[in-house]
């Protein structure tokens, strides 16, 4: 292995220090920004999970948000006054991931022979089915509480630390969002390492082979059925973890959080960042999480300063800029902002 020199370690140290101090800098601007950052990290989990299915294995999944929902409702049902059960986090977070994994296999198994558009349509249907179930499983037995959703969900509590409560440690105030930020940062590190290892593993290469040519992959001795199911299962379990953390942080879940739009947003993060490249996907997720929030906080004051009143609603402008950004990216960087090495090579050879 190549010797890593001190500038590399200095870089790592700087990034680590920035990430550790970030929530305090952000809360100086406003606590909302720490929450926004936390949600952005959850979207990184989701985008990395979907990247396994779409980016690596090349299976277009438009119902990915269903796995997010499975994770979120697992936590919500097993740690809230709704059924009056309050399981510990160490049990429900892995359980949520496992159930999402099962859901992934349930979706994967009947769709193994489908590709491209056909797979996209079936997965889209699957996502909607899950959402409609959550909406309607309130009668005759009230399981999900329907569109009203589940409230007063327990927050995360681990090793005696209540993450929903503020506390002061060594004279420094740690608010709930700041505490969650550190948990998410650790989870992010774990998920990142898993993804980087996967991309460079035997199974990662098998996914790429299936993406490129399924018959040739079979001829090479790849059990395409199992390998595809594994992609669905692994991708889904990251969604499940993100869902569990989402329920814990928000304290409230309802089917409204798991609509088709969310699936499309996560897919856009993967495509915009650069399908298949872990770093690109992270950049895409961060960008699409933060830019809309930035707009929300800047559009109104700018318009008032310029015109004295608000002409365009931030929400309208957000979608406009979002659409324009996607079109421009696809025009000028068709393989994404930070493409997988091979896509980039291919594009440069082609031009």
């Amino acid at each position: 292995m190549r010797q890593l020199r001190w500038p590399y370690w200095l870089g790592v140290l700087l990034v680590a220090a920035t990430l550790l101090l970030l929530p305090f800098a952000l809360s100086a601007i406003g606590t909302a920004w720490v929450r926004i950052t936390n949600l952005a990290i959850l979207f990184v989990f989701l985008a990395l999970g979907l990247n396994i299915v779409v980016g690596m294995a090349g299976l277009l999944d438009l119902g990915y948000v269903a796995f997010y929902a499975v994770g979120a409702y697992t936590w919500a049902l097993l740690a809230s006054p709704h059924f009056d059960v309050h399981w510990p986090a160490w049990a429900i977070l892995p359980l949520g991931a496992a159930l999402a994994c099962v859901a992934g296999v349930l979706l994967g198994a009947p769709t193994l022979r489908l590709r491209g558009d056909y797979l996209a349509i079936v997965t889209l249907g699957f996502g909607e089915i899950v959402r409609i179930f959550l909406n309607n499983l309130s009668a005759p037995f009230n399981i999900t509480n329907g569109p009203k959703g589940i409230t007063r969900i327990d927050g995360l509590s681990l090793a005696g630390i209540q993450f929903n409560a503020s506390e002061t440690f060594l004279g420094i105030p740690f608010t709930a969002p700041i505490k969650y930020y550190y948990v998410l940062l650790i989870l992010l590190l774990v998920i990142l390492i898993i993804n980087l290892r996967l991309a460079d593993s035997r199974i990662g290469r098998a996914w790429v082979a299936i993406r490129e040519d399924e018959i040739a992959a079979k001829a090479c001795g790849i059990d395409t059925r199992n390998v595809k199911l594994l992609a669905f299962a692994m991708g889904a379990s990251f969604g499940g973890i993100a869902g569990g953390m989402f329920a814990a942080i928000q304290g409230f879940v309802s089917p409204e959080s798991f609509v088709l739009n969310e699936s499309i947003m996560i897919l856009a993060m993967v495509v915009l960042g650069g399908m298949g490249n872990v770093w690109g996907v992270i950049a895409g997720a961060m960008l699409l999480s933060f830019v809309p929030e930035l707009l929300r906080y800047t559009v109104e004051p700018i318009q008032r300063a310029l015109f004295g009143r608000m002409l365009i609603e931030p929400e309208v402008l957000r979608m406009l800029i979002f659409g324009a950004a996607l079109v421009l990216t696809m025009r000028f960087r068709p393989a994404g902002l930070w493409p997988e090495k091979r896509h980039k090579q291919e594009m440069s050879v082609a031009s």
Partner: protein, 235 residues
């Protein structure tokens, strides 16, 4: 006992019979071709052998029944397929494509040995080893598909229309490579529309017509046969 033997192989697409009960065999180290017009059922037969299509009948390879076995297990037994249209992994490099050919193997030393042999046999691949497969010419892609199949250390290669879509000069190059592979002792079953090329390359041939094998003979006899000449060799 032949290396590979098919007995009464039948393939249906819905209600339409594409292969209506064919029987044939390939001996160890032998080069055999399956010729016939477009739609005669050649590719369907090969796909049935590679277990890519559901078929009835019996297929034996190296003394074992392989009908009912999934495709991905065949390479472990020594049966390799070079699919129609080559099927290289376009966004992987040449070297990565070759490595995928050895996906099922666990003997790293043997794989390294075979890689050196493939580069020796197909020197063009060695020159291009870092290039993406999608950027190779058609002939080079066919070479890569051959090399990748060899990386599984097969006893029998199934070749589906290797000349398809290639310029005549490249076809000659690809067939030179195929002959070189055969000289290393690998048996080859070649499905080919270019009957003259196939018969001059292989020792034996089967002629397929609308789902049935109508002739089976050494290539020299088929080349001289009046019916074959009229139907496939342009008089």
């Amino acid at each position: 006992m032949p290396l590979m033997e098919a007995l009464d192989l039948k393939v249906h697409y819905g209600g339409i019979a594409a292969v209506k009960g064919v029987s044939f065999a390939v001996e160890e180290g032998e080069m055999v071709c399956l010729i016939g017009a477009n739609g005669a059922g050649k590719t369907s037969t090969l796909k049935a052998l590679a277990r890519l299509l559901p078929a009835t009948g019996e297929i034996r390879f190296a003394g074992q029944r392989i009908d009912g076995m999934p495709t991905h297990r065949l390479i472990r037994l020594g049966l390799a397929l070079v699919p129609e249209g080559r099927g290289v992994f376009a966004r992987l490099t040449v070297a990565e494509n070759l490595a995928m050919g050895a996906y099922a193997r666990e003997d790293a030393a043997g794989v390294a040995e075979d890689l050196a042999r493939v580069y020796e046999l197909l020197p063009r691949l060695a020159e291009r080893r870092r290039q993406l497969a999608g950027t190779l010419s058609g002939g080079e892609q066919q070479m890569l598909a051959l090399g990748r199949a060899l990386m599984g250390r097969p006893r029998l290669l199934l070749l589906d229309e290797p000349s398809m879509g290639l310029a005549p000069l490249l076809v000659e190059k690809v067939f030179e490579a195929i002959r070189a592979i055969a000289r290393t002792g690998v048996a080859i079953l070649l499905v080919e529309q270019n009957a003259h090329l196939a018969l001059t390359t292989c020792a034996r041939g089967y002629v397929m017509e609308s789902g049935r094998i109508t002739l089976a003979a050494p290539s020299a006899e088929l080349l001289a046969d009046a019916r074959v000449r009229a139907a496939y060799l342009g008089g």
